[in-house]
Symmetry: C2
Subunit: 208 residues, 2 copies
């Protein structure tokens, strides 16, 4: 069965581990690709254009918007972030599932345009565990940790807008759970119209 | 996370292998139970009351209907078949997922009453393969094979009413696919209200 790729939108609290899960998932299975966002912010040390982000100017970004070259975009702390359409559609047409790590506004924009996209929300097993992980990084000030928890508290009100939650209690199991969800949704009748129609025609031929 | 069981309704063409898949699934994972139907037909040689079916009289069956003791029932070749409610609800409350092998009419009755039930339709990889398997049993007359294919042809028009299709190309993979689908649907926000609410309250406490 030839299958078309689907879009998987992934959000989650900062510190819940969504980036780690998605990196492990794409490393383990070659049916997935991580979408690369375009941004107008400056590269940080170690970031490579076309790997972490496509780094573009404000003018280039606005041109992308105008040409409908982004499937979603949002402003965040004085900078634009968006998902280039071409990369996503090339992968989908090649049968690759594309993973977008974006926030709720972008997630809703994507689901509006791609009716068969699915959305996942990554959660820690508890808020205490989230705090522990944020603190365990050892890189964030108390103030930043407090900000992230406050942001998580706001985001928590949106969880019901997602199709699935993924509890990240154990990295390996969380990766398999995400893979399981995506494999499952490939099995809806809507995503297998051609196959169903083929079997119907074969049955019709056999019984006529 | 304590989880409540869900109902999985399974239909499929005769010969597609749904019975074999479900037996293998329940043998492999103890989170599943196969529902046992009540029927008014006589036991066949080797069938045991309470294992293949609950064998009951017409009067007993009609009493079950009257008392709302069945979650679905249908008449088929002069006999009643139905799913006793108590068995199903006891399992669900114990966190066990209950599998019902029933046809489309029953499937729709169940989904009407249990909004979070899911339905699967088991298909062969092709109609030719289905015919081959029916013939391979070596027990059916040409007439019976033709009847089953005709019935499959009719059932094929209902596939879109199911939530998922499962292609049975390889028994082991089909079992894992069914397990994957059920695991995935346990992850919808609707089925995890309590957990989401807990994390919300914890976040609120941490940030107040």
């Amino acid at each position: 069965m030839k299958r078309k790729g689907i879009i998987i939108v992934v959000s989650g609290f900062s510190g819940a581990g969504k980036g780690t899960i998605m990196k492990a998932l794409t490393a383990r299975y070659d049916q997935y690709a991580l979408s690369i966002s375009a941004t107008t912010r400056d590269p940080r040390p170690g970031e490579v254009n076309g790997r972490e982000y496509f780094f573009v100017s404000n003018e280039e970004f606005e041109k992308l918007i105008e040409e409908d070259g982004l499937i979603e975009h949002a402003g965040y702390v004085n900078h634009y972030y968006g998902t280039p359409r071409k990369f996503v559609e090339d992968k989908l047409n090649a049968g690759i599932d594309v993973i977008l790590e974006i926030e709720i506004q972008g997630a809703l924009q994507v689901k509006e345009q791609y009716k068969d996209a699915i959305s996942l929300f990554v959660m820690p097993p508890s808020a205490q565990e989230l705090e522990k992980r944020l603190r365990g990084r050892g890189t964030e000030s108390e103030e930043v940790i407090a900000q992230r928890l406050k942001r998580a508290c706001e985001e928590a009100s949106e969880v019901e807008k997602y199709d699935f939650i993924v509890v990240n209690d154990n990295l390996d199991e969380a990766v398999e759970r995400v893979h399981g969800i995506i494999s499952a949704v490939h099995g809806t009748p809507d995503r297998n119209k051609e196959f169903i129609e083929d079997v119907r025609n074969q049955l019709f031929d056999l019984t006529k």
